[in-house]
Amino acid sequence: MSEVKYKFGECIGKGNFGDVFKATDKTTKKVYAIKVINLDCSEDMGSLIQEIRFLSLFRSPFITRYCEAFIDDIQMYVVMEYCGRGSCSDLLRVVKRMSETLAAFVIRETLKGLHYLHTQQKVHRDIKAANILVTDNAEVKVGDFGVSGEITDTHIKRKTFVGTPFWMAPEIIARKKYGGYDERVDIWSTGITTIELVRGVPPLLDQDPMKMVFQIPKCEPPILKGDKYSRYIKLFVKDCLKMEPKDRPTAQSLLRHPFIMNALFVEFAKLVESVKRHQTRNPKTPKVPRYKIPLDWVNEDDLIHHQKHDNPNWDDKRIEWDFETLKSLRQGPIGKQDYIDVKSSIGNGSNMQIDTVGVTLVALNSLRGAMAKAAAVNNNINSHNDKTSLVEPKSPRLCTGEVLYFCLQRVYLRAKSKETKRTVLELINVLLQYEDSNPGLSAAIVEEILKFGKQNGSSLEDTR
């Protein structure tokens, strides 16, 4: 695809799979977020494709909307609804922590999104402030389904380890003990996210993520402590963070929780407005994308941020396969009259017997094939009686070893006397015999000649 309907702007996010760009539809001028995924880096392309299928079947105001996807080269471009104010974690960077009424609003909208996903038999698996997005109109949407997976009928089939440690439910980590997990992992993560919103950081942040992973299933669930928090939010967090998944309420029932009743849109809209002002004053420096996208797709102003690095996957070392079967050489377009009958030449002019030199008939056939081809080339050239092109005929594609016989055959053609011709044929036969007992010998000789030619190319020319 050389023409693309979007103009790519700055890189607004980087994930494990690829980069996210802000982009504009050239005709409608509508802004989108485009996720770029390098497909050859993914061993399991099937699940990525499955993901897109699900996305395209979701339609809810509480979920970032999928628009389309396309492929260019080895990259997949997933066009999503753009949320202008970024994520709640971007908001927290500005305001440090949210009041309970603000958090209640964010969590309420998140629960609506989760309720929708869960009715669609879908687990998000990575709920956290960074994946809760905010539009310019202060709408809240659950985004980044990068790792969300479908719950199966048995509810216990998930085996993959995904999510972000601090927000991870115990059953994701200790799956064996719990025998799998289902949509209730999102409820746990919602509880952790609630703490994150009002405190600015998730619990246990000071600990090493990898060590912490093993602590989550062993420790008591985190609780929200201190007088500054209301009893409702403490209760809400406690309800979400039940060690036993079955004890956690559903997203739908949590929507009726007293804590959620505190939600205030007006206050949140004000916050978004002030964050917007702050973000305009202090614009984020665009990220340097990890993967290259075609530079002519990129908005000129943003070009400087698109690294002109070489794609590490690009390796021009390609093999030149030879698909000419010997059969096709033997029965190829070359007419029978072009064959040089090695056997009869030997039989006529020399006392050398084929059997005594031990060259098998099949081997001879293969040689004849190669030689016939060479002869055909030469005959064509000879027919023009052009001496210079006889010296440099267009070489047919031969494997290394065959080059030797190709060249010897040319010597045979050049030879003026019958005697010389016979000598050359004898030489070929002897070489074939040695090749037979030392496979690769001919190839080695040719390689050495070529090497020598490369090193001494010009001087060789001169001394001749």
Binding site: S42, D73, D315, I319, W321, E324, E435
Partner: protein, 354 residues
């Protein structure tokens, strides 16, 4: 004003609510017909009357779902389901639903796929009445097979069709229908999710019932190989990788013996796989490897295949000596690579064909 209207409408709806499954299906058919007639595909915005029919259909479809699945208050009633199913069969309601599918609203389309699946799974003793009905009325399957041609409904039709072909007889119908070859075109449709969905169906048709697939592949070796090889050479990375993967699954299936014999004797196949093997992209290389190994492992190789292998002996040795598999962490693959390398080294050199 609008709200008042809506309230009024609602009252009429309640008043008109069908009392039993029999009436419900009849009312649904009626609305589907009206929607079908009033819908103007050329219009950018749907008209008020069309919207009304759409809403009516959506409401009845929801009710059909409730009869089949129950809701928060009531459990599904077997006798009601039975009447409903009977009425759906006798009035060709499934066909109407599928034909009008793209004119329904987004959520109703998904509801239709749920209704379809529920009916499909319905069993009375050892009988599956919906399966029998569909086999007698295969025009529904035909419409489903052409689903990918319509952007709005491609995914829904694909899903339903895949549910259908879980039943052998329906798969048999689909695989031997000339429309099946159309899937090789559908998988190249520019709409990403439709194309990949069509590929999933193509994959399922060829792998779900091994016996049917193996007979088909044996009978249609040339046509199938021609088509799949076109996909293997596609410029689209996804099409390319999926089709190589499908091939590698098919050649792994012992039952596809007739197909396999023909496939691994065809020098053109070897050529395509070798080109993929030397691709710069790791994952294409690996998929190709899983096919290439059978060319090497096949006990009786035909002359053409041998010729190519022998001709490229040095190339292969250089290639496999350098074939990095560290990233895959797959010990069997490393064993396979070493086996292949051994076999290739054991091949006669160019002048020594036995």
């Amino acid at each position: 004003m609008n709200d008042g209207m809506k309230e009024g409408n609602k009252l009429i709806f309640i008043y008109r609510n069908p009392k039993n499954p029999h009436e419900l299906v009849r009312a649904l058919n009626e609305q589907l017909q009206k929607l079908d007639g009033s819908y103007n595909p050329a219009a950018s915005v749907i008209s008020d009357s069309t919207k009304k029919y759409q809403d009516e259909c959506a409401r009845y479809i929801k009710q059909v779902k409730v009869v089949l699945h129950g809701d928060d208050e009531t459990d599904p009633q077997p006798d009601q389901i039975s009447v409903l199913a009977q009425e759906i069969y006798s009035s060709d309601c499934l066909l109407h639903l599928i034909v009008v599918l793209r004119k329904l609203d987004f959520d109703s389309r998904k509801d239709v796929s749920i209704i379809f699946l529920t009916l499909l799974r319905r069993q009375i003793g050892s009988k599956s009445p919906t399966v029998d009905y569909l086999l007698l009325n295969p025009e529904i399957l035909i419409v489903l097979m052409r689903g990918a041609e319509t952007k709005e409904t491609g995914l829904i039709c694909g899903q339903i069709l895949r549910d259908c072909i879980k039943y052998e007889q329906m798969l048999h119908f689909v695989i031997y229908n000339p429309l099946f070859w159309k899937f090789f075109d559908y998988v190249q449709i520019p709409v990403f999710e439709i194309a990949t969905d069509a590929f999933t169906t193509l994959h399922d048709v060829l792998t779900l019932h091994k016996k049917i697939a193996s007979e088909f592949l044996g009978a249609y070796y040339s046509e199938f190989t021609k088509r799949i090889n076109q996909l293997v050479q596609s410029n689209n990375y996804v099409t390319k990788r999926q089709s190589v993967k499908l091939l590698s699954e098919l050649v792994l299936e012992r039952r596809n013996q007739t197909f396999l014999n023909a496939y691994f004797d065809d020098t053109n196949n070897l050529k395509l796989i070798m080109i993929l093997l030397s691709d710069k992209l790791k994952n294409l290389q690996i998929e190709a490897f899983h096919i290439f190994k059978f060319f090497i492992a096949k006990p009786k190789k035909c002359q053409g295949i041998l010729d190519i292998l022998i001709k490229n002996k040095e190339n292969f040795i250089a290639f496999f000596d350098d074939f990095q598999l560290d990233s895959t962490n797959d010990p069997t693959m490393i064993d396979e690579r070493d086996y292949i390398l051994k076999e290739i080294k054991g091949l006669p050199d160019i002048e020594r064909i036995q």
